[in-house]
């Protein structure tokens, strides 16, 4: 699973740059030895191997500035006459057969800003030929690694034209994102409902699920993704259950306060996230299956079969959860414990067992959500943390403690995030979701379906 490539080191170096005030006191940012402005990069194929002989052209206002060709190490550099805004074009004719750019129009990067004394790296993400080329509305990572490319922010707008088409397409994207958030958020809401703990480490269960599925579906085991997903769900459930038995139950037995447990969950999240970083590396990976797909055109919207199945499966899973909560005994017990802890206990329900089941189910669901998220976006080490804030937004909007609220809230959050790109830049889409979170907390802290309990 750990490939020793320069990109991994670059990613961790970027991570270290993030840690404020590194031990050295040199200014941050990229500098070349001869302090001239330049544009450079490394062209790699989807497996990470450098590509030789790929031609890159840089042009500024007034024409072509320079051309470079990648060497044996895949690297290219074009020196610039000065700082400013440039356009970088990759000559797709010089790409080998079998690779193409990931985004529609991603071979041209416009509005690449070069600051004084900056030798700026630009990245052209490449995918196997025949993959559905994505629009640039894929999620930017909140904590940037070296792959926070200008390409993500400045790549071409969606291939289909027309206002309503675009709105409908974004609605579909929003439902897709919302469905994934919904599966993961249900567990969060149930855990809060039964134990009053806001589990900060829930995001790491998501990441764990995605990574376990990745591990099982790539060499040397190379199981089909469906089987790997089953393992992932099992791993997620196991981790959730272990956390409950080993950490939360003893703490509850000791009478630990909610604030104390909340801060502990933050520590668990921090710890797990970076252990996963060490194990997995900092590169974004894709699952090997289902990456290459043609979009289906369903009327005005287009969606890949993979994404469609993800949405349908998410819906089925949510229906399954609803069925469990309404019709089964354990579901009824869960609702009872969430409603009134002491009364449920006094009526003979084994609260500890119910809580354990909640953690098992929540962990499994989170892991499944992670697999879906990895399928539709990519698998990377802090995917869970990015999703966590959206989960909070969805859960609080819907009402903490209510599983159905979590579903509704998550769908709304997903829609808001995607629809905001109609008017605002893509990089801000998560900011709107978080603003929704804050506004809901101010105006109606119990959310849509929550009970009016004291949130203050």
């Amino acid at each position: 699973m750990r490939q020793r490539l320069a990109a991994a080191v670059l990613g961790v170096l970027a991570l270290l740059l993030m840690a404020p005030a590194a031990l050295a006191s040199t200014p941050g940012g990229v500098r070349t030895a001869d302090s001239a402005e330049a544009l450079k990069g490394t062209i790699r194929d989807p497996e990470g191997e450098p590509l030789e002989g790929v031609s890159i052209t840089v042009s500024g206002d007034g024409g072509e500035v320079g051309t470079a060709s990648t060497g044996g190490d895949g690297e290219w550099q074009v020196d610039l006459p000065g700082p400013g805004t440039y356009t970088v074009t990759l000559d797709t004719g010089t790409l080998p057969d079998g690779v193409q750019t990931r985004n529609v129009g991603g071979d041209v990067l416009t509005d690449v800003v070069v600051r004084p004394q900056q030798a700026r790296t630009v990245i052209f993400p490449l995918v196997p030929a025949g993959t559905a080329q994505e629009e640039s509305t894929s999620a930017p990572s909140a904590t940037s690694s070296a792959e926070a490319s200008p390409g993500d922010d400045t790549a071409a707008p969606p291939a289909d034209g027309g206002g309503t088409n675009r709105v409908l397409q974004l609605v579909v994207e929003g439902i897709k994102l919302g469905a994934i958030i919904a599966i993961t958020a249900v567990g969060l809401s149930l855990v809060f409902g039964t134990t009053r703990l806001i589990n900060f480490a829930h995001g790491e269960l998501v990441t764990l699920g995605a990574m376990v599925a990745f591990f099982f579906s790539t060499s040397p085991l190379t199981l089909p993704l469906v089987v790997a997903a089953v393992f992932a769900v099992g791993a997620g459930a196991l981790t959730g259950g272990t956390m409950e038995r080993v950490l939360w139950r003893p703490l509850r037995g000791r009478g630990a306060g909610l604030i104390q447990m909340f801060i502990i969950s933050i520590g668990v999240s921090l710890f797990l996230r970076h252990v996963l970083l060490v194990l997995f590396g900092s590169r974004r990976r894709q699952y090997s299956e289902y990456a290459v797909q043609e979009s289906l055109d369903l009327g005005p919207v287009s969606i890949t079969p993979r994404d469609l199945i993800v949405v349908v499966l998410s819906g089925l899973v949510i229906l399954g959860v609803a069925f469990m909560l309404q019709r089964t005994r354990i579901g009824k017990a869960m609702r009872a414990v969430a409603d009134n802890h002491d009364l449920a206990e006094s009526s003979g329900i084994d609260v500890n067992r119910v809580v354990l089941v909640v953690w098992l189910v929540g962990g499994g669901l989170a892991a499944l959500g992670g697999v879906f998220y990895g399928l539709t976006q990519a698998v990377y080490w802090d995917m869970g943390f990015n999703l966590l804030l959206l989960m909070f937004a969805g859960v609080i909007l819907g009402g903490l403690g209510s599983a159905y609220g979590a579903v509704i809230g998550s769908l709304v959050v997903g829609l808001i995030a995607q629809l905001s790109t109609l008017w605002f830049p893509t990089e801000l889409q998560y900011a709107w979701a978080l603003l929704v979170l804050i506004v809901v907390l101010l105006v109606r802290p119990q959310g849509i379906l929550g009970r009016v309990e004291r949130a203050g």
Partner: protein, 330 residues
């Protein structure tokens, strides 16, 4: 394994500019969390506005550093009011989520292409603090004892930083041992009781938030000046988690708690860093277990583990008063 170098690095880390900066921010957080009981998880947001206040004023508008500092403090006050007025009536963990969200929203906006002409977007701003370093009274050279040496630049930042920390601690001590401080602590203990005695609980919380936020902004400004650059992605929630670890480690609700916490924290983290770097590069730890590039991630994992262990076994920290800050009671 060059233990002398590792120890030297660790002592340098615990006395250096980062420790001072984090101590200052932690003093601010201590006022909000330790004394007022506010679970403010957006302290990094205050550092962000303080840092950008200085940077934008100098780099984009061309004002002086002092003006920039004032702008940073003003921004922190405004942020505290915007953040506090709506959210302070929220319960502990809700407030935490709201403030994390607010910090992240700020970071997204500062980093967005909208504000790029002002803030430099994703790339941030740099080279705006030359007047500060021109005023450095220490002539160039290295100062120190044995393996613990600092260059003149770092020494200057350290001097300024620790002086600010000292002044902040004096201010906090005076405030806390005054009637204002007593009311603040009573608000933390039992809001209803304080309110029933006629105290304006809301006002006290806002004041604590503003004061803590100003200290955070000063810390952020010093951080920006120290590295002569601001980048939005270095002001992420993990910084706040570090600050909480520092405050809890030292002992929340004690004046010198955060300072002690910062010193010990940076000693341990730098020790771990140096040790792991040497161990992985010398082969003491085989590369199948840990690679030199992973050392940074191990540092974060260690902080997370420290936070867990502290909160489970000793929420009072080193010099905290276990009876005063009853974090472990529902």
């Amino acid at each position: 394994m060059d233990w002398l170098a590792i120890l030297g690095n660790s002592v340098r880390g615990m006395l250096g500019p980062e420790a001072a900066i984090y101590a200052l921010a932690a003093v601010g957080l201590n006022v909000q969390f330790g004394y007022a009981g506010l679970l403010n998880f957006g302290q990094v947001g205050f550092m962000l506005v303080g840092a950008y206040g200085v940077a934008v004023s100098v780099a984009t508008f061309g004002w002086s550093l002092w003006a920039g500092l004032l702008v940073g403090i003003l921004c922190a006050v405004v942020l505290a009011l915007i953040l506090g007025i709506p959210t302070l009536r929220l319960r502990g963990d809700y407030l935490a989520i709201a403030t994390i969200g607010a910090g992240e929203v700020l970071r997204y906006f500062y980093r967005s292409s909208y504000l790029e002409p002002l803030t430099g977007g994703v790339f941030g701003l740099r080279q705006f603090a030359n007047p500060f370093f021109d005023a450095n009274p220490f002539p160039p050279g290295r100062y120190g004892v044995g393996p613990v040496t600092f260059d003149a630049r770092s020494l200057w930042v350290m001097t300024v930083g620790w002086t600010m920390v000292l002044l902040a601690c004096v201010l906090v001590a005076l405030l806390i041992h005054s009637p204002w401080g007593r009311v603040l602590r009573s608000v933390r203990e039992d809001e209803l009781a304080a309110r029933s005695l006629g105290k304006n609980v809301y006002g006290f919380k806002i004041q604590a938030l503003v004061l803590g936020g100003v200290f955070g902004a000063l810390a952020g400004a010093l951080l920006a000046v120290n590295v002569q650059s601001v980048q939005p992605d270095s002001y992420n929630p993990v910084v706040t988690f570090y600050l909480y670890t520092i405050v809890i480690l030292g002992g929340a609700s004690r004046v010198m708690g955060p300072v002690l916490g910062s010193i010990v924290f940076w000693f341990l983290v730098t020790f771990l860093d140096s040790f792991l770097r040497q161990a992985t590069s010398s082969g003491l730890i085989p590369t199948s277990v840990l690679e030199p590039g992973d050392v940074g991630a191990v540092r974060f994992a260690f902080v997370g583990l420290a936070l867990i262990l502290l909160m489970v076994y000793r929420p009072a920290g080193m010099i905290g008063n276990a009876k005063e800050l009853r974090l472990d009671v529902r």
